[in-house]
C-alpha cells in the first residue's frame, strides 16, 4: 500500500515538473520573440549611421571571438552541472555552477568593457540609428546574462544549504534551459551583428 502511494507520488511529481518545464519553455519562446523584434530593428537600421562609424569601423573581431568562446564554454559547463545534479553529486554541481558563474561574469565584463570603450569614443546610443539598435540588442542580451548570473548564485546557495532536493534540481534544469537559450541568442548576435558587420 505504501509502495503504491509512493509510486503515485513520484508520478504526480514528474507530471508537475514537466508542466513547469513546459511553462518555462513557453516563456523562453516569448523571450525569443522579443529578441526577434530587436533583430528586425537592427536589420532595418544597421546602415543608418548618420555619418558616424559603422559596424566595420567599431568592432574588434578577436575580442568578439573570445567572448563567444567563453559563453559557449559556460553553456557546456552548466550542462555538466545538470548531469551532476541528476547523479545527486552536490560537490560537482557546486563546482560546475561556480565555473559557469565565473565564465558568465568574464563574458559580461568583456561586454561592458566594449560598451564603455564605445561610449568613451563618443559612439554612444545617441550617435546614430545603427548604434541605438546595436546597444538595445546587445544590451538586452547582457541584461539577461546579468539576471542569469544572479540566478546561478541563488541556486548555488540553495543547493549548498538544502542539498539536491527535487525542487532544487527542477530549478537547476530551468536555469540550464535559460543559459543555453542565451547562448543560442548570442550565436545569432555573433553571426549577424559582428561577423556580417565586419564584411
Amino acid at each position: 500500500m505504501t509502495e503504491t502511494a509512493s509510486t503515485l507520488k513520484t508520478i504526480v511529481h514528474a507530471e508537475s515538473d514537466s508542466k513547469t518545464l513546459l511553462g518555462f519553455w513557453v516563456y523562453l519562446m516569448t523571450d525569443c520573440l522579443l529578441f526577434a523584434s530587436l533583430f528586425a530593428t537592427y536589420a532595418v537600421l544597421h546602415n543608418n549611421t548618420f555619418g558616424g562609424p559603422g559596424a566595420k569601423d567599431l568592432f574588434s573581431l578577436p575580442f568578439v571571438l573570445g567572448e563567444t568562446l567563453i559563453l559557449l564554454t559556460s553553456s557546456f559547463t552548466i550542462g555538466l552541472g545538470i548531469l551532476a545534479a541528476h547523479k545527486q553529486n552536490k560537490k560537482q554541481v557546486l563546482t560546475w555552477l561556480g565555473i559557469t558563474f565565473l565564465l558568465g561574469a568574464a563574458f559580461l565584463s568583456m561586454e561592458l568593457t566594449e560598451f564603455s570603450r564605445l561610449v568613451a569614443e563618443g559612439n554612444n546610443w545617441q550617435r546614430s540609428g545603427f548604434l541605438s539598435a546595436f546597444f538595445t540588442l546587445v544590451g538586452t542580451h547582457g541584461l539577461h546574462i546579468a539576471t542569469g548570473l544572479l540566478w546561478t548564485l541563488v541556486l548555488m546557495a540553495q543547493a549548498w544549504r538544502m542539498g539536491l532536493v527535487r525542487t532544487t534540481v527542477r530549478r537547476l534544469m530551468l536555469l540550464s534551459l535559460f543559459w543555453h537559450f542565451l547562448d543560442v541568442i548570442w550565436i545569432l548576435i555573433f553571426s549577424i551583428v559582428y561577423m556580417m558587420g565586419a564584411l
Partner: protein, 122 residues
C-alpha cells in the same frame, strides 16, 4: 523527470559549436585581413547565415534537447508557433522597410536603380 540528457550529447554539441564558430571566424577574418578576396561578399553573407542556422539546430538539439521529448510534443509545437511569428516579424519588417526605402528615394536614385535593375547603361 527522466534524465534524458547524457554527457555524450553535451560533448558532441560543444565540439560542433566550437568547430562552426571558429570556421565562421576564420572565413571572415581571412576576408577582412588579406588583400586578395577569395570569396565574394554575397557568398560570405550566405555562408555566415547557413553556418549560424546549422549551429542553432546543433544547440537546440544537443543542449536544449528539442524534439527528444515523448509525445505529445508540446515543446516542439510551441517552438514551431514561435518560428511562424518570428518569420512574420523579421521578414515582414525587412520587406516593408525596403519597399518604403525604394518609394522614398530621390528621383535620381530611382532612375539609377531602375537602370541597374533593367541592365541599361548610359
Amino acid at each position: 523527470m527522466k534524465p534524458r540528457v547524457t554527457l555524450k550529447s553535451y560533448i558532441i554539441g560543444f565540439a560542433l559549436s566550437l568547430l562552426l564558430t571558429i570556421s565562421v571566424y576564420l572565413f571572415v577574418n581571412d576576408h577582412v585581413t588579406t588583400a586578395h578576396e577569395a570569396f565574394s561578399h554575397g557568398f560570405l553573407i550566405a555562408l555566415i547565415l547557413c553556418l549560424a542556422v546549422v549551429q542553432l539546430v546543433v544547440q537546440l538539439v544537443f543542449f536544449l534537447h528539442l524534439g527528444q521529448e515523448t509525445k505529445p510534443r508540446w515543446n516542439l509545437a510551441v517552438f514551431g508557433f514561435m518560428m511562424v511569428i518570428l518569420i512574420v516579424i523579421v521578414g515582414g519588417s525587412l520587406w516593408i522597410m525596403s519597399n518604403l526605402k525604394y518609394n522614398m528615394q530621390s528621383p535620381g536614385d530611382t532612375n539609377t536603380r531602375i537602370m541597374n535593375d533593367e541592365g541599361i547603361h548610359r
